[in-house]
Each structure stands twice: as structure tokens, then as C-alpha cells.
């Protein structure tokens, strides 16, 4: 019986952590004045319409990337690429800087006043400020 409870607890912890892993949050540097941002504000940054932030991307293979763009910007990966191709080849702006993992993105945002990133919720710590939960 005890074992069954333990197993159930363990299973729920695993499940919870799996759910948490799928959860994506948008983070900025703690020095940034905004307490929260709307999905539209964040979408503007990631679609090149707002140059006041320095956005960060995760690799195309990262599940968080697809989830972020679909839910926040309403666009899939190919559409986002076409939009950036338009912006980049006009010299208007540079595409988001790409980091290999959520942990690296958090580290960059912690050290850069203008940075913004979408990361796995589990990677967020006190060095950055969460401004939007993607769901």
C-alpha cells in the first residue's frame, strides 16, 4: 500500500514535471520596468515590429519554439522565417539571436538589459523576470 502511494506520488511528480516542461514563459531582464507584457507586445518584438528589445530564439528543434510562435504570434516556423527574410534582407533589423537551451537563454537575459526570451518554465530563476506565461 505504502509502495502504491509512493509510486502514485512519484508518477504524479514525473507527470507534473513533464507538464511543467511543456510550459513556456517569456522573460526579460529584472531591470526592465514592465511587470508584464501582453502576447501582442511580445509578438511585435518577435516579428520585427518592435526594436526596443533584443529577442532570443531557441533552436528549431526545441519544442518551446514551436509552441511560442504558434500561441503568441499565431504563425508557424516557415511563416516566421519568411517574415524575417523580408526584414533581414532589407538591412532593417537583425533576427533573434539563437541559444542552444533555455538555461543559456536565461543566462543571456540576466546579463543584458534589453534582452527578451521565451524559455522553459523550469529554467527560470531569480536572475530574470517572467512577464508572460504562454498557454
Amino acid at each position: 500500500m505504502k509502495f502504491a502511494i509512493k509510486a502514485a506520488v512519484a508518477a504524479s511528480v514525473v507527470l507534473a514535471s513533464m507538464c511543467a516542461q511543456a510550459e513556456v514563459v517569456v522573460i526579460v531582464n529584472p531591470k526592465h520596468p514592465a511587470a508584464s507584457l501582453t502576447a501582442e507586445q511580445v509578438a511585435n518584438v518577435y516579428l520585427g515590429k518592435d526594436a526596443s528589445f533584443a529577442p532570443v530564439d531557441l533552436p528549431e528543434s526545441a519544442a518551446q519554439r514551436g509552441e511560442f510562435y504558434t500561441k503568441v504570434a499565431g504563425k508557424d516556423s516557415a511563416q516566421v522565417k519568411a517574415i524575417w527574410a523580408r526584414l533581414v534582407f532589407t538591412g532593417k533589423t537583425q533576427p533573434p539571436k539563437e541559444f542552444g537551451s533555455s538555461a543559456e537563454a536565461v543566462k543571456f537575459v540576466a546579463g543584458n538589459d534589453k534582452a527578451i526570451a521565451y524559455v522553459d518554465k523550469g529554467a527560470v530563476d531569480g536572475s530574470v523576470k517572467a512577464v508572460l506565461t504562454v498557454n
Partner: protein
């Protein structure tokens, strides 16, 4: 040409120098990217060519049954970020040229200074922002269609401008506004001769709110068309006019001189008014532009527009485009032959016919209905197929070039296009 390559080599040398000095900072400071298209076209009109632009000497139809030159291009771009405020952009593009080569040209080479995130200025060679997607008209990957509708985009094929521009962005209640003002000069070679704009100036306003955008732009320019083949026409009109006057045939003589003056292709004062809008919520999109071109001399007034729409099903995006251009070409009765001796009358008729032919050659009317599909086949690679049904205006060559004997004005033809667009 030499100085163009000097700019590029300087940029490359700078980039390499920066690389040697600060290898770690290099990625942050310099980015090198490129884009390209491999395209093939087939036209069912074999007595004239569908041209990729007026700067191309030939194209699909008469010259080549299967044309792989008009749409194909390869471009490289280097961005150097000196500081947060100062950027340098150079873009070189290799595409089919007036001289039948693919010699790379410097499309852009400019320094951008951002005074604030809202206010920036550029100096150097910049894109001439005539249309809504002027900036990306060559970047096939950035666009849904194989190429922007010729009816609108070929009304002005000048793509770059040597000068300055200033952009200011501001937000008003959820709407992002951008105002851009620019001034410059431009020169481009044609298959024969060249086109030279001495002063180009204009202003654009862009409003973006969520998935919707709206744009209005106005440009004025002073243009010289230096085309050797038009010289005999003007010399002929002037010569005949002077001769008729000297014989006392001042009615016809005056007409010939007046026509030479009226249709001179120097110092033409041209204007473009353009309005465009797009709405793209993600799964589907619509986009439309309309232009009102104010012509002068040999270039008549033109009105043109298109509407396009499509839907996205994962990686597959079917779309449809309807576009139309209407040229308001003067028909000249020409020189009156009443009372002229036969040799003079024959000369006068030939010049009158030549004049009307030139008027038709410079501007055309046509409409197109197109269906296509874009397939985002692989990362950074899109494959597109497009079918155009083109209906040429009455008494017009449409937008066709290299018109051959046997061509029938006012007809129709089909254009099949396939392209592979990529970025790297």
C-alpha cells in the same frame, strides 16, 4: 563598375580584419547571409518575350521556349554592426543583366545611424521604396507568389536609390506608424542605352496594427531615357519639320516640331502614388496594392493594381492573384499630309506611325489571373508553381518585350512558372 567592387572588397576586408582581431566578437558584429531563386518560365506567346524586368534584354516566349534566366538570381548580404547605433549593409545581387551576363551588381550599400530606437537615417545606396514590398521584391523566399505582379511592379523597375532616407516610428493607441522620407539619384543600364533619374524624392507612411497593415506612398522623379533607337524618330521629326518649314509648308512642319518636343524623353517629370494594405491572421491572408503613375512625354499615365489572397495548410499555401494595368496612351493623328508632295507625305506618315509604335512600346495594358502554390518543402527552401493567364489590352503589346512581326495585339497567352527560393 570598379567603384562598386571597391565597396564590396572594403566590406569584406573589414569583415576579415574584424574577424582576425576579435574572433569572439565577430559573430556579434558581422553577419553574412544570402538568398536566391532558381526559376523557370514557359510562355505560350512565341512572337514576343515575357521579361523579368525592363532591364533584361530577352526572356520567355520568343527568345527561349523555357527560360531559366528571368527569375533566377543569387544574392549575398553583409551586415556590420559597429555599435548599437551604427550599422553597415551591403547587398550584391547576380541576376540577368542588360548585357546578357549575370555580373553581380551592388544593390545596396548604406550606413544606418539610429539616433533613437524610433528615429534612424541611412546614407548610401538604399532600396527605392516605390511599392509595399519594394524591399523584398527580389527575395522570393520572403514572398508567397513567384514574383510580384508585373502589372504593378514593372511600372517602375528602378529598385535602388543613391541618397539618404530618414525613418521615424511612433505608436498611437495600438497602431505602429512609420514615416519615411527620402531623396536620391539612380541610374540603370537597359539592353540599349540607360535610364537616369536625376532627383528622386518621396515620402511613405506605414501603419501596422496586429495582423493588418496599411501603406501609402508618393514619389516624384525627374527621368531621362537615353535610348539610341528613339533618336532617329526625334531627329526625323525635327529634320522633317525644319525642311517643311523651309519650303513654306509651315502647318505640317510646325506639327512635326511640336511632336518632337512633346514626346522628348529627357527631363520627364514622373510621379507615383501608391496605396497598399494587407491582412494576415495566420491561416489565410489578403494583400492588395494600387498605383497611379503620372507620366510625362513618351511615358503615358498608368493605373495598376492587384489583389491576392491565399490560405495556409501546414507547409502548403495555395494562392490566387488578379492584377491589371491600364496605360492611358495618347494616339497621335501625327503630321497632316494635306498639301504635302508625295515624298514628304510618305516621310511624315512613316514618322507618325513610328511615334505611335513607340508610345505603345513604352507602356502597355494587360490583365492577369494567376493561381499558384507555395510549398515550404525544407528548412529555408520554398518551392512554388504558378499559372498566369494573361489578357493583353486592345491595340497594346501588354508588358511584353522583343515584339516580333506576326505578333497580334490584344491577344492572350499562358505563362507557367516554377521556382525554388532559398535563404542561407
Amino acid at each position: 563598375m570598379t567603384h562598386k567592387f571597391t565597396i564590396l572588397s572594403a566590406a569584406v576586408a573589414l569583415a576579415l580584419g574584424a574577424s582576425a582581431a576579435h574572433a569572439a566578437d565577430f559573430d556579434d558584429m558581422v553577419s553574412v547571409r544570402g538568398f536566391g531563386t532558381f526559376g523557370v518560365m514557359h510562355s505560350t506567346e512565341d512572337r514576343a518575350d515575357v521579361l523579368g524586368s525592363v532591364f533584361m534584354p530577352d526572356g520567355a516566349g520568343y527568345t527561349r521556349e523555357w527560360d531559366m534566366r528571368s527569375d533566377s538570381k543569387l544574392a549575398g548580404q553583409v551586415n556590420v554592426r559597429f555599435t548599437d547605433k551604427l550599422d553597415f549593409t551591403v547587398q550584391a545581387i547576380s541576376q540577368y543583366q542588360h548585357d546578357k551576363s549575370f555580373t553581380p551588381q551592388i544593390e545596396w550599400a548604406n550606413l544606418k545611424y539610429s539616433f533613437t530606437p524610433e528615429l534612424s537615417a541611412r546614407v548610401g545606396r538604399i532600396a527605392l521604396p516605390t511599392f509595399m514590398i519594394s524591399d523584398s521584391r527580389m527575395v522570393g523566399y520572403a514572398n508567397t507568389f513567384v514574383r510580384p505582379p508585373d502589372e504593378v511592379y514593372q511600372v517602375s523597375s528602378i529598385t535602388s536609390n543613391d541618397g539618404v532616407d530618414v525613418s521615424y516610428g511612433f505608436s498611437t493607441g495600438g497602431v505602429k506608424n512609420t514615416v519615411q522620407a527620402f531623396y536620391g539619384v539612380s541610374k540603370a543600364d537597359l539592353a540599349e542605352g540607360n535610364v537616369e533619374a536625376d532627383s528622386i524624392y518621396g515620402v511613405n507612411y506605414l501603419a501596422e496594427a496586429g495582423d493588418a497593415s496599411f501603406r501609402v506612398g508618393y514619389i516624384r522623379m525627374e527621368l531621362d531615357l537615353n535610348i539610341p533607337s528613339t533618336q532617329p524618330l526625334f531627329e526625323g521629326l525635327k529634320g522633317l519639320g525644319a525642311m517643311l518649314n523651309s519650303f513654306g509648308l509651315t502647318n505640317s512642319g510646325g506639327q512635326a516640331l511640336a511632336l518632337a518636343n512633346k514626346y522628348d524623353v529627357q527631363d520627364m517629370e514622373l510621379s507615383f502614388l501608391s496605396v497598399g494594405a494587407s491582412y494576415d491572421p495566420g491561416n489565410w491572408f489578403v494583400m492588395s496594392e494600387a498605383i497611379d503613375f503620372g507620366g510625362d512625354d513618351m511615358l503615358s499615365d498608368v493605373r495598376a493594381g492587384y489583389v491576392m489572397g491565399g490560405a495556409r495548410f501546414g507547409k502548403v499555401t495555395p494562392y490566387a492573384v488578379v492584377s491589371k494595368v491600364k496605360a492611358f496612351i495618347d494616339y497621335e493623328d501625327g503630321i497632316s499630309t494635306t498639301g504635302l508632295p508625295t515624298p514628304f507625305a510618305m516621310g511624315a506618315d512613316a514618322l507618325s506611325a513610328g511615334l505611335n509604335q513607340s508610345l505603345n512600346q513604352f507602356r502597355g495594358s494587360q490583365q492577369t489571373a494567376a493561381l499558384g502554390v507555395r510549398w515550404d518543402a525544407f528548412t529555408n527552401i520554398a518551392v512554388k508553381g504558378q499559372y498566369n493567364y494573361v489578357d493583353i489590352g486592345d491595340n497594346s503589346n501588354g508588358m511584353l518585350g522583343n515584339v516580333q512581326p506576326g505578333f497580334e495585339q490584344g491577344g492572350n497567352y499562358s505563362l507557367y512558372s516554377l521556382s525554388v527560393d532559398f535563404i542561407f
